[in-house]
């Protein structure tokens, strides 16, 4: 072999072949799996929701791009994670959120929960949820104005969970005009008041099934999360407690399906091992149930995921696979 030919041989180390899968393909696949839910939302709540979605996605991407420039020109927007954060943030906002507020949420999500921790892979908290709870704390009125479905004239209506809580806790603060009795079918199709992307359970499940089949998410977190909420609400949300509760209402309402399949499963902020994931999902479900029944908010999915995010490093430290060949 001549010298110049020898120089051209690649000497990189084994393995010499790689499975054709990339971070960005995973992120963009999750992104597109979320699209059907957004389409239903635009149909139910009108075009304003589309502008919110676009603002949140572009806001998150622009913020990440800007941070990359400041950090020395590292362009990370193509990995799709910023766009996904923006989309998930939009899906956690009310349908008439003002666009300036949406942008603030996206900015906070990217800067304070992602970039300052070191970027993708190093964040402890789910960025979209940090954006949401920041806005909840800062703009509580704007964040809880729920238009009734198919009423672009912005008649407000209580969300199903708010109606439930009102009667469960016997507070009776809601006026009769606020209360709409939704059927399970309405809830399943997303024809109810609530955040942009959380309503249409049917559309969310469609994407989730695809993600499960592709192996992009595993069943452990969604099943233990939703299962725990179901059992918890069945046991305690009935008239006299212990069984008889309307668990179907609790599964179909609020952000449970969106949170369990698309946010609690975020790779970076959930446990690595299957056992850890089961515990994580169980904890999320428990906290959600407690907040929904006895807490100050009607909905608890966001807080439950964020609280369990704190436990992830601990779960990953102590719940590790048994070493091969090590005695039990």
């Amino acid at each position: 072999m001549s010298e110049e030919r020898a120089m051209t041989l690649s000497m990189t180390s084994s393995p010499h072949i790689r499975f054709p899968e990339t971070t960005s393909r995973i992120m963009w696949t999750v992104f597109f799996c979320l699209i059907p839910s957004g389409i239903v939302s635009v149909y139910v709540f009108g075009l304003s929701t589309l502008w919110i979605i676009i603002t949140a996605v572009l806001g998150a991407v622009a913020t990440e791009y800007g941070c990359g420039l400041m950090a020395g020109g590292k362009n990370t927007i193509s990995d799709g994670s910023a766009a996904l954060t923006g989309l998930l943030l939009a899906y956690n906002l009310p349908p008439q959120a003002p666009l300036w507020m949406v942008f603030i949420g996206a900015f906070i999500a990217i800067v304070f929960s992602k970039v300052l921790f070191g970027g993708l892979g190093f964040n402890i908290f789910n960025p979209a949820l940090i954006g949401r709870v920041f806005l909840m704390a800062s703009f509580p009125v704007l964040m809880t104005r729920w238009p009734a479905p198919f009423r672009v004239d912005a008649v407000t209506a209580a969300t199903p969970l708010a109606v439930f809580k009102d009667s469960f806790q016997g507070t009776n603060v809601l006026s009769q005009a606020d209360i709409i009795n939704y059927s399970y079918r309405d809830l399943f199709l997303g024809f109810r008041g609530g955040c942009i992307g959380e309503g249409c359970v049917a559309a969310l499940l469609l994407g989730a099934v695809y993600l499960l089949i592709r192996g992009y998410i595993s069943w452990q977190i969604p099943v233990s999360f939703i299962g725990t909420v179901a059992v918890f609400s069945w046991l305690f949300s009935g008239k006299d407690g212990i069984a008889g509760g309307d668990f179907i209402l609790h599964i179909l309402s609020g952000g449970l399906v969106l949170g369990a399949f698309y946010m609690a499963t975020d790779y970076v902020t959930s446990p690595i091992t299957k056992t850890g994931q089961l515990i994580f999902g169980f904890g999320c479900g428990l906290i959600t149930g407690v907040i929904r029944l006895w807490g100050g908010y009607p909905e608890g999915v966001s807080y439950s995921i964020l609280l369990m995010n704190i436990l992830v490093p601990l779960l990953d430290k102590f719940i590790v696979p048994r070493r091969f060949g090590e005695l039990k």
Binding site: S14, I17, R322
Partner: protein, 438 residues
């Protein structure tokens, strides 16, 4: 047929990898013409290097012993052609980079050494005599690790199970598959000899289920010959052929960290090694040739070749009529654990199971991106390590911290890096940790 369709035995973890074996699986073993010159490195095995027994100008024949090692863990090397010793000097080596080697010019006559002759009275040979023949014939594990076989077959404590490894889980390679099909009788005789040496009742032959022809043929031949070997069809999954994973799949035992198969009463021998044992004992033929799969999408004539040890890769590539596209990478072995070569001027050694050639577009140099903690590496790791954690330790240069993740459990099978969507060089990171933290 039973067992092929039943729930397949396997080990936990691992990953099915596209095999690319159709390139060569129907290529019968073909003897390559003698090269004009061979380079016999004096180290082709685990253990101490051989001392040369010949000098420049000496006449040798195929099978003449030309190097012998001292110490328990060592082996011998033999001339693979007849001819004259041209020189003894350092030469390119596919594993070591460079190594002292005996360079022999072939006289083209291909005469055998006088010692290469059929042996009679094999049934009367004792275990010690058989082990001596194996050592003298330079037999080492032909699956790739090249551990001296006489050491492996003489464990410090008794074992109860012999597993013959016909898994060949590395993508692209088919030399063991062809060997099982074409040299079935020799293989069974070799297994019987090994069974006698290690003195066990239970003998299993592990084969991946995608090699059905081999499974069926071995089962039929075993029935005809009334042997009591059990052929176990295993799920086609990487790294099913790794010793510890094979043992787990076949007999359900886990070899503890840092221990060897004999610690759980098992010895694993590759099918090629078993045939080499047969040839050494029955035919008196030392290990001076082996079967090499020459393959790759761009290879003009992929083949399974019977090659004399010491043949240059370049001669073999030329015999296979070269490549259709410019070469990007030459790998000795398979794509998962094989070694990239800096030149094609390296000799075939005992551990050369394959020569894989990849085009430039098959070796895209991926940029590493941040670990997203997706857990794919943890799910596939056959020894249940946390590859991502080790990779992150290297990223933050916390080498001491890496020790808690047992880096030495890693056999560098590469399954973690293969599945990583962030294209992280996890195997390289673990190698680095092993090298830095003593």
């Amino acid at each position: 047929m039973n067992g092929l369709n039943a729930a397949m035995k396997t080990f936990p973890g691992g990953k099915h990898i596209e095999g690319h074996k159709q390139l060569t699986r129907n290529e019968p073993i073909c003897a390559m013409p003698l090269p004009a010159q061979v380079i016999i490195p004096l180290s082709q095995h685990t253990g101490s290097i051989c001392e040369p027994l010949v000098k420049k100008g000496d006449k040798v024949k195929a099978g003449t012993k030309i190097g012998q090692g001292n110490g328990v863990v060592s082996s011998t090397v033999h001339a693979s052609v007849s001819g004259t010793v041209n020189n003894i000097s350092d030469y390119n080596h596919p594993v070591l980079g460079s190594c002292p080697a005996v360079i022999i010019d072939s006289d083209g006559k291909d005469e055998n050494d006088a010692q290469v002759k059929e042996r009679s009275g094999i049934a009367e040979l004792s275990k010690e005599e058989l082990l001596a023949i194996i050592k003298d014939s330079g037999i080492v594990g032909l699956g790739g690790a090249a551990f001296p076989t006489q050491v492996k077959l003489n464990p410090p404590r008794p074992v109860d199970t012999l597993i013959i490894n016909g898994v060949e889980c590395e993508p692209y390679l088919t030399c063991d598959f062809r060997l099982m099909l074409e040299r079935t009788n020799e293989l069974l005789q070799g297994i019987q000899l090994i069974q006698k040496i290690v003195n066990v009742q239970k003998v299993f032959i592990g084969i991946e289920e995608d090699k059905q022809e081999a499974v069926l043929q071995l089962r039929n031949r075993i029935m005809e010959k009334k042997r009591r070997f059990e052929v176990v069809a295993l799920k086609a999954k990487y790294p099913q052929g790794a010793e510890k994973q094979l043992i787990k799949a076949v007999v359900g035992r886990e070899v503890p960290p840092g221990k060897l198969p004999f610690d759980v009463g098992v010895i694993v021998v590759n099918v090629g090694t078993a045939v080499a044992v047969y040839e050494a004992v029955c035919l008196g033929k030392p290990l001076y040739e082996r079967i090499v799969t020459v393959t790759g999408r761009i290879v003009k004539k992929p083949a399974n070749l019977k090659v004399r040890l010491g043949t240059r890769f370049s001669d073999i590539i030329a015999f296979c009529e070269g490549t259709k596209e410019p070469l990007g990478k030459i790998i000795m072995g398979g794509p998962m654990m094989g070694l990239a070569q800096f030149t094609d001027d390296v000799p075939v050694i005992k551990g050369t199971s394959g020569i894989l050639m990849l085009a430039k577009d098959e070796i895209k140099d991926f940029t590493e991106t941040p670990c997203i903690r997706c857990g794919r590496c943890v799910n596939v790791c056959p020894v249940r390590m946390l590859p991502y954690a080790l990779s992150l330790c290297v990223e933050s240069k916390s080498f001491e911290q890496a020790l808690q993740y047992n880096p030495r459990d890693c056999m560098e099978c590469g399954a973690c890096a293969y599945v990583c969507p962030a294209k992280r060089r996890i195997v390289e990171s673990i190698r680095l940790i092993k090298a830095v933290v003593k």
